[in-house]
């Protein structure tokens, strides 16, 4: 048996701890050679994503060091670092890896302390044993099974049918904000066989794959497949990922069978009834990871988890929830990073579901639903999914129709609300009626449709954690303004991503010059239903 030599990444701030490391060197202070120092100007620079990605890549431990509280060269960077590390710890707790991360304060004068901290951390990690990711057999990146020739891509996705009518350009919500992107242009680059231009074209990465252009394209060009595959041809990096690529890294981690998630079900509260086996399974997706990842934008979509279970319980359903549920892999699919990881995620999830005996799988997140319905069969075979897939709104609609949810009497004054059709639910899956059935049956509310709704809905502006930018924000503001124009007080979402992106924009601190935000409140459909049923205990969120 070979001895385990941990690999440690130490992120050191320039002014205190990196100087401390130098001092340690000058002072010839000995510490284990397992540490690789990565200098940043301030510990505040360290993001959740950096740490998760380091662990995904097989680092056995990550040590973040900064100036002592009150000493930060940049006044309060280390306070930020403290929050980020706390959030990261939350994520790592779910993964059972919280001990592999540590935050320490080391001043420029503390050469001795630097050596000690390093030695202690190395030993601590040595005791923990190797990061299960070290032996990872799968990885995300450019998948081997996608031929790299644009010509093949053109053939596979039918883009040669493009007649250059320009309807896609005139339809695309991004083109309307930002001329840098044109669906027709990226198709032309592929048709003319110009891979370098396609790769360099920001458009390929700006596309939010909302599918509105495909929906309207008279030539039947499958832009969604084209963009998905073109991204896989063109890249394997995650440079353009939002939030430091943390979700993509998490997907990479979860693709490895050896990784378990001991904290996966920590969200289950007392009084909620869940099971390990049963007829109906609730696939929670990445919701348990949302809160810590989005700590910095003050967005809290995870309430949907509890609300969903409460409503199910209220209807007499005890859902299966899986402790070893994996990321669905959606974000890898749409960022050109399927690698071998995606197929593995699919396999693990489907096997785990089959082990529960579930015949119906319910999703809060339309991305998960779409991925199971359309992308798993691609990698697992057409018959791999032999259980029913449904969106939570479909289940709710069914329960309401069957009279299994008793809704209270309505009041005279109805609160006007409107619904955001998530692109993955509406155009990708063709589900537009279910959320409306739910909302129509809610007493005290009145549904007012936005101009763009159903299959013509505008997207929330970001997808696959890939293209957060100015146009995303503008799309979000415009979409919320449309809701306001429709006379709605509430904008109901049926997707945790839509919920997060809208709230993110609403929560931006901005400045005095920032135009006023649309006056709508974003509410998750499960939470709204749960509240209406009186199941939320009067608490916030």
């Amino acid at each position: 048996m070979t001895t385990f030599e941990p690999e440690i990444v130490a992120l050191c701030c320039n002014w205190c701890s990196y100087a401390g490391a130098d001092l340690a060197g000058v002072s010839r202070i000995q510490y284990p050679p397992n540490v690789r120092i990565l200098r940043v100007m301030c510990s505040g620079r360290v993001e959740v994503g950096h740490i998760i990605r380091a662990l995904e890549m097989g680092a056995d431990g990550v040590l973040v060091t900064g100036c002592h509280p009150g000493d930060c060269h940049y006044i309060s960077g280390n306070e930020q670092a403290e929050k980020a590390i706390a959030a990261t710890k939350e994520i790592l707790t779910v993964l059972g890896m919280e001990d592999r991360l540590s935050l320490e304060w080391i001043s420029a004068a503390e050469g001795q302390r630097f050596g000690q901290v390093m030695t202690d951390f190395v030993e601590r990690i040595r005791a923990l044993g190797p990061n299960p990711m070290k032996e990872a057999k799968v990885s995300r990146g450019n998948p081997g099974d996608v031929p790299g020739r644009l010509e093949d891509l053109v053939d596979r996705t039918g883009v040669m049918y493009c007649l250059e009518c320009g309807k896609c350009e005139a339809t695309c919500p991004i083109t309307r904000m930002e001329i840098a992107y044109s669906p027709m242009l990226i198709v032309e680059e592929a048709l003319r066989d110009l891979p370098e231009e396609l790769e360099a074209d920001k458009g390929l990465w700006n596309c939010i794959t909302c599918g509105l252009c495909s929906h309207r394209c008279p030539s039947g060009v499958d832009f969604l497949e084209f963009v998905r595959q073109a991204r896989e041809v063109e890249t394997s990096s995650c440079d353009r990922c939002a939030h430091g690529g943390v979700f993509h890294a998490l997907a990479g981690i979860m693709a490895n069978e050896a990784v378990s998630q001991p904290g996966r079900l920590d969200w289950v509260e007392d009084g909620m009834e869940v099971a390990e086996k049963g007829e109906l399974l609730y696939f929670t997706g990445c919701l348990p990871y949302f809160e810590p990842v989005l700590w910095d934008v003050d967005v809290h979509p995870a309430g949907a988890l509890g609300s969903t279970v409460r409503v199910m319980n209220h209807a007499g359903i005890v859902p299966v929830v899986m402790a070893d549920e994996r990321c669905c892999g959606h974000d890898l699919v749409w960022s050109g990073q399927s690698g071998t990881a995606f197929a593995e995620l699919a396999r693990l999830n489907v096997e785990a579901i089959k082990a529960t005996g579930a015949r119906r799988v319910v999703f809060t997140c339309p991305e998960g639903l779409r991925t199971f319905a359309k992308d798993y069969p691609r990698v697992l075979g057409e018959d791999a999914i032999d259980f029913e897939l449904l969106h939570i709104t479909q289940l709710f609609a069914e329960l309401i129709e069957e009279g299994r949810l008793e809704l209270p009497e309505g009041t005279d004054e109805a609160v006007p609300l409107t619904i955001q059709d998530p692109c993955r639910l509406g155009r990708h899956m063709g589900i537009v009626d279910a959320p409306r059935k739910v909302l129509d049956s809610l007493p005290g509310y009145e549904l007012r449709e936005m101009e763009h709704h159903g299959l013509n809905a505008h997207c929330c502006g970001t997808s696959s954690w890939l293209n957060c930018g100015t146009f995303s924000k503008r799309i979000q503001v415009e979409r919320m303004t449309q809701a306001e124009d429709a006379g709605a007080d509430l904008l109901v979402t049926a997707c945790p991503k839509c919920f997060s992106h809208f709230n993110c924009t609403l929560n931006e601190p901005g400045s005095d010059d920032t135009p006023p935000k649309p006056a709508v409140e974003i509410v998750d459909i499960s939470v709204l239903l749960s509240k209406t049923l009186g199941l939320e205990g009067g608490g916030d969120r």
Binding site: Y161, L163, E164, C165, G166, K167, C168, E169, A170, T171, C172, T175, R176, I179, S182, H215, R216, C217, P218, S219, G220, E451, G454, L455, N456
Partner: protein, 446 residues
């Protein structure tokens, strides 16, 4: 020349007229069967025709009257073919003469009955933009000018009461007890010329047809600018304001060249009719501006490209290559905002107009499958009647049955007229080669 040559023509539109008049002039007996109460077909609904801007009804009406009045042509309106047996040279055809509840020989066409009729229904001829009564002429220039009672709408057939029309009719022409009749004719050849329907793009939500009042189809616009139309030729909007639209946008290929709606084909006439309509709008009011949004400007016929250039030069039509992504209505003004890409700057632009005219696909008649079944002929995947030999496009898959006009494939009026004549030639050839009752290729001398 054999004196007993006769031909059945199904469809009383321009293609059918041409076939009928050629055959009749050549001494052939023609039975023309038209489903609706009047002959005339689609051309009777058009305002003008491209590329000459000839008035459509003006050039059509003489043909209608000549056809109806010709001694060798027996026109049956409000009738349908319901069974065909036999073979080339000797077909037996059963025609269902639907009861029109008005005697053709007694009705003077005075129209008094329809002034009194209390029941209003949407007029097919006016593309639903106006009402007609339960007893009606489909349009003012109808041939024959004989009233017809729409049984489905007539109050008497529902309640047994009313009969106001009977009271009003001085000619005593109305009889609610009339019954359908079946007539059998023998013919040597059959020509089918049943024309087309207009695709109504309700499902293409992005263009708001059916949702926005001022988004209309080209055929509706033809009626709106027609002097005999529902607005008496005043170009006006369908929204409550009834305002005169000064800015018009035309969108080409709506539901055509569109695989998403299973219609990849090009309707062949729309680039031209949109240009025509934009010209006519300018002629109605010289301060009208038009934009035509297209994919390929298909001005391929004789004098067509010159027509487009005239549209641009003399009528100030703005031709914009690019399909709008969507239309949004301003709920206050009922104006319409189109989003399209400007080809020069490659920016998405918004254009505000007061009316949008959709050049929607022209499609086979809804009852084409039934007609095909009755005639024993095949259709293509879109329900156009099929020519087994592409180089003989007037021939169907059944010997002795020929076809002309839009029921076969997209084409314009002159092509339909040429096909009308061509089917007449094929029918004459067929009858010469297969004299009635003959099974062999017997010679017929002139």
């Amino acid at each position: 020349m054999t004196k007993d040559e006769s031909v059945l023509i199904i469809g009383g539109g321009i293609a059918g007229f041409q076939a009928a008049l050629d055959l009749a002039a050549a001494g052939v007996q023609v039975h023309m069967v038209e489903k609706s109460p009047s002959i005339g077909g689609r051309m009777a609904q058009l305002d003008k025709t491209f590329p000459t801007n000839d008035c459509s009804i003006c050039i059509l009406a003489p043909k209608m009257i000549e056809t109806y009045g010709h001694k060798n042509i027996n026109v049956r309106t409000y009738a349908e073919v319901q069974k065909v047996s036999g073979s080339i040279g000797d077909f037996q055809v059963e025609i269902l003469q639907k009861a029109r509840f008005v005697y053709e020989d007694k009705c003077t066409g005075c129209g008094a009955c329809m002034e009194k009729c209390p029941k209003k229904v949407s007029s097919e001829y006016e593309m639903g933009l106006a009402d007609r009564r339960a007893i009606y002429f489909p349009f003012a220039q109808a041939v024959p000018r004989v009233a017809t009672i729409d049984k489905d709408a007539c109050i008497h057939f529902k309640t047994g009461k009313c009969l106001l029309c009977v009271k009003e009719c001085q000619a005593g022409a109305i009889d609610h007890k009339m019954e359908d009749e079946v007539i059998t004719v023998n013919v040597g050849a059959i020509i089918v010329a049943t024309g087309f329907d207009v695709y109504l793009p309700y499902e293409m939500e992005e263009y708001g047809y059916g949702r926005y009042e001022n988004v209309v189809t080209a055929m509706e616009f033809e009626r709106i600018i027609n002097a005999a139309g529902p607005t008496h030729g005043h170009m006006q909007r369908l929204s409550e304001d009834k305002g005169r639209p000064k800015r018009l946008a035309f969108i080409q290929c709506v539901g055509a060249r569109d695989v998403r709606h299973d219609r990849p084909y090009c309707s062949a006439v729309c680039c031209m009719h949109s240009t025509k309509e934009a010209m006519l709008a300018r002629e109605h009011h010289s301060d009208t501006d038009s934009w035509i949004f297209y994919t390929d400007m298909r001005a391929f016929g004789k004098g067509f490209w010159e027509y487009i250039e005239r549209g641009e030069r003399d009528y100030g039509i703005n031709y914009i290559r690019g399909k709008p992504g969507e239309i949004i209505e301003d709920p206050e003004t009922k104006d319409l905002i189109l989003y399209y890409t400007d080809r020069e700057t490659r920016e998405v632009r918004a254009l505000e107009v007061e009316m949008v005219i959709l050049a929607t696909a022209l499609i086979p008649r809804a009852d084409a499958p039934e007609v095909a079944q009755i005639l024993g002929i095949e259709m293509d995947e879109y329900n156009f009647f099929k020519a087994p030999n592409v180089m003989m496009s007037t021939d169907t898959t059944r010997e002795g049955v020929y076809m002309a006009g839009y029921c076969q494939k997209p084409m314009d009026i002159p092509d339909a007229v040429a096909q009308g004549s061509a089917t007449a030639a094929r029918a004459m050839e067929a009858m010469a080669q297969n004299p009635k009752g003959g099974t062999s290729q017997k010679e017929v001398t002139a």
